[in-house]
């Protein structure tokens, strides 16, 4: 059944019609504003889907679809990557993390290279897999490097709770989890950006609920639309945003109704509240953002890799010439970076935006490099 629905959500004929309607509305907006409207997709999965479906190219004359800092891998700072790499060097330790983390450059090296040099680093698909590794290696420290926003953080939380329940004392979480609103608040008020409206991350929203975003309209007077990821969902979300702007309605609309509820996923939100405290976080590009990082509560300290394996805090300089910071803020595009597609490419990334499949630089490299 869902198979059928998905097929229709991807129907090219409906898509063309919808695109026609969106273009028409956007052009009216352009006429009214005297410039193309600026829409930021905060979420990297949106960035990738918009490029992959060709929507960005198709709508380019009508709207500036700006890519935001919505890739948790990309916003992980050098400081944190360096620390994870240091943990990987501990004798006997096993680092488990998601595939994308493997290639993120710290200040000198990556987990992938450390693995090649002998560190035991394993790619997992889920924190549950990391816990299973800990069960099978009871005499070794297994450190799960959790990275992700509100969507992913609850999965790490319930896994830690599972470890606690099992009395598994060799499983540790190194939490690089972050929440998104503080980054938006740090970014969107920036005059230079001139963001007119925002496509809100669909999968963060299915945890947080639509209501989570009301601060946008309330505090920043920005309209927002929670968007899905299929062709028609993306187009209809842009359409809804255009309508709001045309009608000068400033509200947060849910255009991903099949997955996102008003109140979100209460079980997941409970898990976050039970396990994590908010602390200041290092964001690549944005710097230190207060109350944006999810760190394990003190009562979970025995499972907290940062507490159990404390490391010196050595500041590291970002690589010369990398514009990641500006690109994450949406102020520059990868085409502005002199390293883009020359010294920096997915096979040998310089900045983290070139690493993650949904990093802005990687996405533009993969899908848009010669299409301008």
């Amino acid at each position: 059944m869902h198979k059928e629905i998905l097929k229709r959500f991807r129907d090219p004929e409906l898509g063309r019609q919808m695109a026609e309607q969106v273009r028409e509305r956007l052009d009216r907006l352009t006429d009214r504003l005297g410039r193309r409207v600026n829409v930021m997709e905060f979420c990297g999965t949106h960035t990738a889907a918009i490029s992959r479906t060709g929507i960005r190219e198709l709508l380019k004359p009508h709207v500036h679809l700006m890519s935001g800092p919505g890739c948790p891998v990309c916003v992980s700072d050098y400081v944190d990557i360096d620390r994870v790499i240091a943990l990987a060097g501990m004798s006997g330790a096993i680092i488990a993390t998601f595939g994308d983390m493997m290639k993120v450059p710290g200040s000198r090296t990556t987990l992938l290279e450390e693995k090649a040099r002998g560190a035991d680093v394993r790619v997992v698909f889920s924190s549950l897999d990391a816990l299973a590794i800990a069960r099978e290696n009871a005499d070794r420290a297994v450190i799960f490097v959790g990275v992700g926003f509100e969507t992913t953080a609850p999965t790490a939380a319930v896994t830690v709770e599972q470890a606690v329940q099992e009395g598994r004392d060799n499983f540790f979480l190194y939490s690089l989890h972050k929440i998104t609103p503080p980054a938006m608040m740090a970014l969107l008020p920036d005059r230079d950006l001139q963001v007119d409206g925002i496509l809100l991350p669909g999968h963060v929203s299915l945890i947080t609920g639509r209501g989570y975003w009301d601060f946008l309209s309330r505090d920043l007077a920005l309209p927002g639309v929670v968007a899905g990821f299929e062709l028609l969902e993306l187009l209809s979300a842009v359409d809804a945003l255009a309508s709001s702007l045309l009608e000068e309605r400033c509200a947060v609309i849910n255009a991903y109704g099949r997955a996102v509820r008003e109140e979100g996923n209460l079980s997941a939100l409970d898990a976050l509240a039970r396990c994590f405290d908010l602390q200041e976080g290092h964001w690549r590009g944005l710097g230190i953002v207060p109350a944006s990082a999810l760190k394990l509560k003190p009562e979970l300290a025995p499972w907290d890799a940062e507490v159990r394996f404390p490391l010196e805090n050595r500041p590291a300089a970002p690589p010369k010439g990398c514009l990641c910071g500006e690109i994450l803020k949406g102020k520059k595009t990868p085409f502005d970076c002199p390293l883009f597609a020359s010294r920096c490419e997915p096979a040998r990334p310089v900045g983290p935006c070139m690493v993650s499949h949904e990093g802005t630089c990687a996405t533009y490299y993969r899908y848009e490099r010669f299409i301008r």
Binding site: K3, R10, P12, G15, R16, A19, G44, T45, S51, R52, T53, G54, I55, R56, E57, L58, C71, P72, V73, F98, G99, D100, M102, K103, R122, V123, V124, F125, D129, G148, T152, L231, A341, S342, E345, P346, A347, S356, H357, E358, Y365, R366, Y367, E368, R369, F370, I371
Partner: protein, 360 residues
Amino acid sequence: MPEECILLAHGDGGALTHRLVQEIFLRHFDHPALRDLTDAALLHLPEGRLAMTTDTFVVKPLFFPGGDIGKLAVAGTVNDLAVSGARPLYLTAAFILEEGFPLADLEQVVASLARTAREAGVAVVAGDTKVVERGCGDGVYINTTGAGVVPAGRDLGYHRIMPGDAVIVNGTIGDHGLAILSKRAGIEFDTPVESDCAPMNGLTDMLLERFAEAVRFMRDPTRGGVATTLNEVAQSTGLNIILEEQALPVREEVQGAAELLGLDPLYLANEGKVLIVAAPEAVEEILTTLRRHPLGLNAAAIGRVEAGTGVGRGPGQGAGQRTGQGSGQGAGRGRVFLRTPLGGHRIVDMLAGDPLPRIC
């Protein structure tokens, strides 16, 4: 029960090596050139150019849905000869065995290799066995090297590809890569998808017999998948290739699993697929022919060749220019694009880094 698994002594060239060769290898491979265990096989070669290719197989797991490393070791090398226009005749098979590898598994692999070779009509004429210490191998690695003959009148190559040519594939893409991935440690999932692993020399020979002129070029999109293989074509010819997203034959199970894991079927390996660049006027006839062959039932035209964006056309320049430049930058070289159903375009690049499963 003296030994049920490989010991280092099985590889020292002494008594146990001889027993292994006699009791496992020679029992499955039967060719006069092998029987005497001399240093080299002496063989008859029919008229034509000699074609040679080599590949080592390090697949994990050794046994996977739709095949095993033995079958793969034949299919992979036979296919490299076949897509070059050759008729595969002889194979050498060299095994690297890890200490502790169960003899029963070895026998199963060897039997499968021998069976596939018979099916493909090639003879295993020389072999080698090495044993490495535990922790210096992974069960078994197999190198097969193939020799064949290109009959007179066959001429395939980059130099024959022209703008306007069509790109054809003989069936669904990504099956092998997904079947393997589904068994990889840490990602296991159950999938109905089986590897497409099969020797294609029957199919290619049939095609070349009928369309010697219309078929310009063939290649098997193995590691790196269709995307990487077509990028090699584009870079070597300086021509662009435009794929039609809607025309790509992809099993819905493969598409579904790829979405689950965050992968693109264009980058998944195939082991029974051939990309054919052919004259546009022959496309329909070629497709009809392919679809009558068991390995071509889902054949489809998936794209076309277009003039590139600048210099560097033709094989000579293309190849020369390529040397030492790495991939993907510089202007005026052939590219691969994909036209989305909406009519937009996106780049299809080479694979960069293992297609790791990812969460974002």
